[in-house]
Symmetry: C2
Subunit: 229 residues, 2 copies
Amino acid sequence: VPTSDSAPATAAPPRLRRDARANQDKIIAAARNVYRRSGLDVSMEEIASEAGVGLATVHRRFSREQLVEAVFAERAREFLALAQDCLTQPDKWNAFVSYLEGLCVMHAEDRCTSDVLTLRLPRSPLLGDLRDQLYYAQLELIQQAQAHGDLRPDFAAEDVILILLAIGGVISATAGTAPESWRRVFALIVSSLRAERADELPAPPQADDLLAALAKPRAGRRPSGLPAS
Amino acid sequence: VPTSDSAPATAAPPRLRRDARANQDKIIAAARNVYRRSGLDVSMEEIASEAGVGLATVHRRFSREQLVEAVFAERAREFLALAQDCLTQPDKWNAFVSYLEGLCVMHAEDRCTSDVLTLRLPRSPLLGDLRDQLYYAQLELIQQAQAHGDLRPDFAAEDVILILLAIGGVISATAGTAPESWRRVFALIVSSLRAERADELPAPPQADDLLAALAKPRAGRRPSGLPAS
């Protein structure tokens, strides 16, 4: 991500740098809105227009790649904040369920950028690092809930992704007029996650296979900003 | 659906009528393949080419609308056969679970035409009738399993659709390299459906709201053959 004082001058007066920073934030927020509405295959013109700045201003601050990365990095930090917040909860089952539910709520609000979670997303060192942090925070939530005997012992990190994909399937079909429908399916799934109810399950997908499946962009939703790998 | 002896003559010789019927079946099978691969927004040329017949032959037998209707009617009959087959099973819980699982398997094999189930689909008297039959067969499966105390009493017909949407979300993301992933989520959901485990759930969506949500075509998957209502 370009910093506010990267492009034109290191000696710019403070007010100019503040303006540049404000423009940058405005462009990122606008990009996020446009991505949410229309997916990642949008023109820089649409983003400039949403931000109320000229196209040249957008191009001066961001390449297409950098803009996608900036939006997804912001999103990844929100997921990470959720996980860290849940880790402070004393009850480890509630902490785990709050995390899962929080993910689903965030997914319901903005399906486009939650691809950062399912890895259906461009790779970049910044995003990779954030994703690693998220992965370990999530693993801790899972392991704590299992250590306390609340969460079924065969629950795997891959299941978080599978559950989010399932909830996403409900959300994307019902968002129009029955937007709370996903909560019923979520409640069903959560009730089956308690350790004392653990029937035998089919094995989770191999992590590599799951990631490969997800890395393959779906028709019409291909992140066009960054290279696929 | 046009019948084989509709167009040219009532007095056509038997062999000609047999040929016409064979052509018609070939065209329906080809349309189904093309829809499965590319969705419903495909040209009649693509379907003719897949069927190995001329475009004029396709146009002589089917309008775009009739072809979509014929393919979906075939699919609806398959779902109905599944439901009726499950109704003959003596164990009512197994019958219900077999039905749900069968729907998911058929959905995994061909997501396009399973829109017939979620009603995200053109209306026609023929399809409406098949859908009613399917609805009542499914209701009987649900009520039998509830009457035997196996299925949670708050399970609603709408839940079948919600579950299929959830499984569809997993399938559409993982079909590439982890195509069995949905079975794990399915097993989780089923294990939460047993009556003795029934936690309180959020209410199901109002049937009208759910149908309205589903009737609204999703981007890129609009059935273009028939009018939306």
